[in-house]
Subunit: 229 residues, 2 copies
DNA sequence: CGATCTTGTCATACGGTGGTAACAATAAAC
DNA sequence: GTTTATTGTTACCACCGTATGACAAGATCG
């Protein structure tokens, strides 16, 4: 299982160190910064799977960071957990309305924060939490790198596997070839758009067992989508 | 926009009534029950979009309901927001680990709960949070590139899809052929004005299922408008 | 180091889509 | 009612986007 990557934005150094230690013990990759502006840069560079954001940090305020993360297309979908001072309900509501996925009220125990982060990740990226993805009759177990359909095991190449996993994490949505390249090949990969077609073809071939319908939908002039048939 | 359906499981009658009232005012459909066992039945029958669950209810305990909802395939993916007594961290963590998506600590304000429910729904079901365009009986989901009318799925070519999307983003307004060319074909496209007519025709054909009225209104010597029939 | 798999690119075939013109139908003008 | 302007409808064919198989370079593994 790949370690989920966290971006921790917290200017209380001792708290930040404690959290970093605890999360790494739980198997996360942690990138930490005390500075709001740097956080925005890191969010773009590192493409974290989740951001833990203190309401009050140096540089740019937490809520402003939240807003900007949401506005930038690269980071718009990254889940955010906010740390807020105790009892300030207005702040909490404002945070949620700005696009935070969750908040935890200080003081909190690391254990609670870990549980919350786990819950959010489970909700947003089941594969990262070690769960099995299931769309229609296809099951994908990210942990063991296995794919089955109707109980039969399927054989896929590495790229096809990542492609399928990405699709199954976002069933029904249409992705352009460019988006798929970014998501599956990595941002900035200098690959021909048409190459996606070929891997779609290979994926289709790999998940077809006779009599089964094709879950990959071609959306002309837009891209591809994956859905239960 | 379709009203998200909530299942509210709460045995404090006055609180339940208050919440039901407030959520309905926010445009939700609310089904409420004070009883845990009945909640499980309702969850299956009603297929709610989200469950609000009190930790302590009559019949079966909240955490047990949570577990069973998760175990049943029909309801395994319905997001759950738990209401917990104040300060009991163990309970909260246990709730999250059992599969609740969120919890709110009593006492809370209805406004806060509403914000949280909204945040969870936005995450889990973007379509319910307004990513879907809806005019009259026609629904257009941009993310999945799907158009339905009265629940029936419609098949449109790419250009007709963009044309319909543009219309549905500005219902009721009249657009000249030139404006439509700019908006749908892109500024500076060197296309005959009359071509718009043909695509209007194709759009009309594509969204007509027998007995349905035509939402595209011709405004002679001005252009076209789209409106609910 | 050799054998096998994987992967990115290309060439080609195929089918859908789109723009245009030509003609029919309809609404406005007189 | 006749004329004229505007829109509706159909047919056509070029073109664009997608599917597919082949191939060579690279990666992986023994």
């Amino acid at each position: 299982m790949p370690s989920p990557r966290l971006l921790l934005v917290e200017d209380d150094t001792s708290l930040a160190e404690l959290l970093q230690y605890r999360f790494e013990a739980e198997g996360y990759d942690v990138v930490a910064t005390p500075d709001g502006d740097e956080a925005l840069l890191l969010a773009n560079e590192q493409a974290p799977d989740l951001v833990i954001l203190d309401w009050m940090v140096e540089g740019t305020s937490g809520i402003e960071i939240c807003r900007r993360l949401r506005r930038d297309k690269e980071t718009a979908h990254v889940p955010i957990v906010m740390l807020t001072a105790r009892g300030n309900e207005d702040d909490r509501i404002r945070g949620l309305e700005t696009g935070a996925d969750d908040y935890v009220t200080k003081p909190f125990s690391p254990r609670e924060l870990i549980a919350r982060v786990g819950a959010v990740l489970r909700r947003v990226r089941p594969a990262l939490a070690g769960e099995m993805l299931e769309v229609g009759d296809i099951k994908l177990d990210a942990t063991s790198h296995r794919v089955t359909r109707r109980g039969q095991s399927l054989q896929l190449g590495p790229t096809e596997f990542r492609l399928l996993k990405f699709f199954m994490e976002h069933p029904g949505r249409v992705f352009s070839r460019g988006q798929l390249l970014d998501a599956v090949w990595g941002t900035g990969s200098d690959i021909e758009l048409r190459t996606v077609d070929v891997h779609i073809r290979r994926l289709r071939k790999g998940i077809t067992l006779d009599g089964s319908k094709d879950p990959v939908r071609t959306v002309r002039s837009a891209g591809y989508a994956f859905e239960s048939v």
